[in-house]
C-alpha cells in the first residue's frame, strides 16, 4: 500500500516540477507529503526544510538541468525513514538516484522532440484533442519513469545504488550523447522560425541580433538582462523602420497625386 502511494506521489511530483503548480514538487512540500505516506511526518519536515535551503542555490534557471530535486527528495525520505539514516547520509545516498532523475528528464525531452510530428499532424487536422494527447503522453512518460526509480529505491534500498552507479558508468557515453543532441535540437526550432521569417534582406538583422546577444551575454554586468537589452535594441530598429516606411508611403502617395498619373 505504502509503495503504491509512494509511486503515485512521485508520479505527480515528476509532472509538477515542470507543470501544474510548479510548487508542490519543492522539497519543502514534497518531503512532508512523502513523510505522511511513510508514517513519519516529523522526518519529512526536517528533510524538507534542510533540502529546500540547500536548493536555494540550485534553481532551474534559464533551462539548465540541475541534479533532479524530486528524486533526490523522495529517495532521501525513503532512506531516512526505512533505513533510519540521518538527514545528511540519506541525502548523500540519494544522489545517484537524483542523477537518474536527470536522465529520465533528458530521455523524455528527447523523445518528445520526435512527438512534435504528431502535434503537427493534429494542427494540420485542426484537432485540439490531438494536442491534449501529446501533452498527456509526455506527462505520463515522465511521471512513470520517475515512479519506477522511486519504487526501485523503496524495494531495493541502498543495495540499488551500486548497480545503478555501474550502469551509469557503462552507459555514460550514450546518456551524454542524448544530452549533447538535446543541446543542439533547439537550433532546429530556430531554423523553422527562420524558414518563414527570414526574407533575403533581413540577414543582416539576424546577424546583428546574434552579435548583440554575444556582447551583452558575455559581460557579467549585463549577462542577466541580456535578452531584455537585446529587445530594447530590436525595438528601436523596428520602430525606426516602421516610421521610415510610413513616410515613404505618404510621400509616394503625394507624388502620385501631383503628377496626376
Amino acid at each position: 500500500m505504502q509503495v503504491i502511494l509512494l509511486a503515485i506521489a512521485t508520479f505527480i511530483f515528476a509532472i509538477d516540477q515542470f507543470s501544474l503548480t510548479e510548487t508542490i514538487y519543492r522539497p519543502m512540500i514534497a518531503c512532508p507529503i512523502i513523510g505522511l505516506i511513510l508514517g513519519d511526518l516529523q522526518t519529512g519536515l526536517v528533510i524538507g526544510g534542510t533540502y529546500e535551503l540547500m536548493m536555494v542555490g540550485n534553481m532551474p534557471v534559464g533551462g539548465a538541468q540541475p541534479p533532479n530535486a524530486v528524486l533526490g527528495a523522495v529517495v532521501a525520505m525513503v532512506f531516512a525513514v526505512k533505513a533510519n539514516m540521518d538527514v545528511n547520509t540519506a541525502l548523500g545516498t540519494a544522489v545517484i538516484f537524483s542523477l537518474f532523475g536527470q536522465y529520465a528528464v533528458t530521455l523524455t525531452f528527447t523523445f518528445m522532440s520526435g512527438m512534435m510530428a504528431k502535434a503537427d499532424k493534429a494542427a494540420a487536422d485542426a484537432n485540439p484533442a490531438g494536442i491534449t494527447q501529446v501533452n498527456l503522453i509526455s506527462m505520463g512518460l515522465l511521471g512513470s519513469l520517475f515512479a519506477v526509480c522511486a519504487v526501485l529505491a523503496y524495494i531495493g534500498g541502498e543495495a540499488m545504488a551500486a548497480p545503478m552507479a555501474a550502469l551509469k558508468d557503462n552507459l555514460s557515453w550514450l546518456l551524454g550523447g542524448l544530452g549533447a543532441a538535446g543541446g543542439m535540437m533547439r537550433n532546429v526550432g530556430f531554423a523553422v522560425l527562420l524558414k518563414i521569417m527570414l526574407s533575403n534582406d533581413l540577414w543582416g538583422i539576424f546577424l546583428a541580433g546574434f552579435a548583440a546577444a554575444a556582447i551583452l551575454g558575455n559581460i557579467p554586468a549585463t549577462a542577466g538582462a541580456c535578452l531584455i537589452l537585446v529587445a530594447f535594441i530590436g525595438v528601436a530598429i523596428a520602430i525606426n523602420d516602421f516610421n521610415v516606411s510610413l513616410r515613404i508611403k505618404e510621400n509616394a502617395g503625394n507624388g502620385g497625386m501631383s503628377d496626376g498619373i
Partner: protein
C-alpha cells in the same frame, strides 16, 4: 508547416473573448511545459493553453488549423509570466492580423520575459520564502510547508490572472493604430522577430566541444579556441545548417532531429562533445 499561407481566410475580427474563456486559459497556462522538449521547448503546452481562445476566434477549420500550425513553432518563455504573451497574441488572433505579424510579436515578447521571471521568482521570491519557512519546518512545524505553498503558488496565480487581463486589453486597444498600416507594421515586427531569433541563437547556445589537446605543460581547450574565433559559433552553424536543409532541401524538422541525435551520440562515443561521461572508444583528447 504544411501550408505557407500568410493570412487567414476569414478576416472579420472575432468578438471579444469573455472573462470565462480568459480564466480557463490562465488555468491551462499552468501546463505550459507539459510536453517540454529540446526541439520546440514549450510549443505544444503553449498551443494547448490558448486553444480555448483560438477555437472561439477561428470558427472555420481551415483558419483554426493555420493558427494551430504557426502556434506550434519554437516557443520558450518564463512559465509564470506566459499569460502576458497569451493576452497579446490572442488580441492579434482576434483581429485576424497577418500571420507573420502574430509570429513576430510572439517571438519578440517571449524572449525577454525569461530573464525578468528568473529575477522575480528564482532569485527573489523563492529564496526569501524558503528562508522564512524552512526553519519552521526544521523545527517540526507543519505551518512551514503550508505557508510556503500559499505564498509561492498564490503570488504566481495572482500574477498569471493579472497579466492575462492586462495584456489582452493592451493588445485590443493598440490594434486600431496597427491595422491602419498593417503592411509596414508586419515588416517592422518581422525585423524585430528575426533580430530576437538571432539573439536566441547566441543566448540559448548549448553545443560545446569537450576536446582537450595536451601541449607540453599546458592543455589546449578546443572550445576555448573556437570561442576566440566566434562565441556560440557551433550554435550559429547548426541553426544555419538546419535552415538550409529545411528551406532548400525540404527536410522535415523530424529528420533534422534524428540527424542531430546521431551526431550527438556518435560524437560522445568518440569523446568529441563536452560533458561528464566516458567515451565508448578511448581517445587521447577526452579524459
Amino acid at each position: 508547416m504544411a501550408s505557407n499561407a500568410t493570412s487567414y481566410k476569414d478576416l472579420t475580427p472575432a468578438a471579444n473573448l469573455d472573462q470565462g474563456t480568459l480564466n480557463a486559459m490562465v488555468w491551462r497556462s499552468l501546463n505550459l511545459q507539459a510536453s517540454f522538449n529540446y526541439e520546440r521547448m514549450q510549443a505544444a503546452g503553449w498551443l494547448w493553453g490558448i486553444l480555448p481562445g483560438l477555437e472561439k476566434i477561428h470558427t472555420n477549420n481551415e483558419d483554426l488549423s493555420l493558427s494551430m500550425e504557426h502556434n506550434l513553432e519554437f516557443f520558450n518563455t518564463h512559465p509564470f509570466l506566459v499569460t502576458f504573451v497569451m493576452g497579446i497574441v490572442l488580441s492579434l488572433e482576434q483581429q485576424k492580423a497577418d500571420i507573420n505579424t502574430i509570429r513576430a510579436v510572439r517571438v519578440a515578447a517571449m524572449g525577454p520575459l525569461g530573464g525578468i521571471g528568473d529575477a522575480i521568482f528564482w532569485f527573489a521570491l523563492v529564496p526569501i520564502t524558503a528562508g522564512i519557512t524552512a526553519n519552521l519546518a526544521i523545527a517540526g512545524n507543519i505551518v512551514g510547508p503550508l505557508l510556503y505553498l500559499l505564498i509561492v503558488f498564490g503570488v504566481q496565480m495572482a500574477l498569471r490572472f493579472w497579466l492575462m487581463n492586462w495584456s489582452y486589453k493592451l493588445g485590443t486597444s493598440a490594434i486600431g493604430i496597427l491595422t491602419k498600416n498593417a503592411k509596414e507594421f508586419t515588416r517592422a515586427a518581422s525585423m524585430l522577430g528575426v533580430f530576437i531569433v538571432g539573439a536566441l541563437t547566441c543566448n540559448y547556445a548549448n553545443i560545446n566541444l569537450g576536446m582537450t589537446i595536451p601541449n607540453g605543460e599546458s592543455v589546449i581547450d578546443v572550445q576555448g579556441l573556437l570561442n576566440g574565433v566566434l562565441p556560440a559559433a557551433l550554435s550559429l552553424a547548426a541553426t544555419l545548417g538546419c535552415y538550409v536543409l529545411i528551406k532548400k532541401k525540404n527536410w522535415s524538422a523530424t529528420k533534422c532531429i534524428l540527424m542531430l541525435l546521431v551526431v550527438g551520440i556518435v560524437g560522445c562515443a568518440l569523446g568529441i562533445w563536452a560533458g561528464d561521461y566516458t567515451s565508448l572508444i578511448p581517445v587521447p583528447w577526452h579524459a
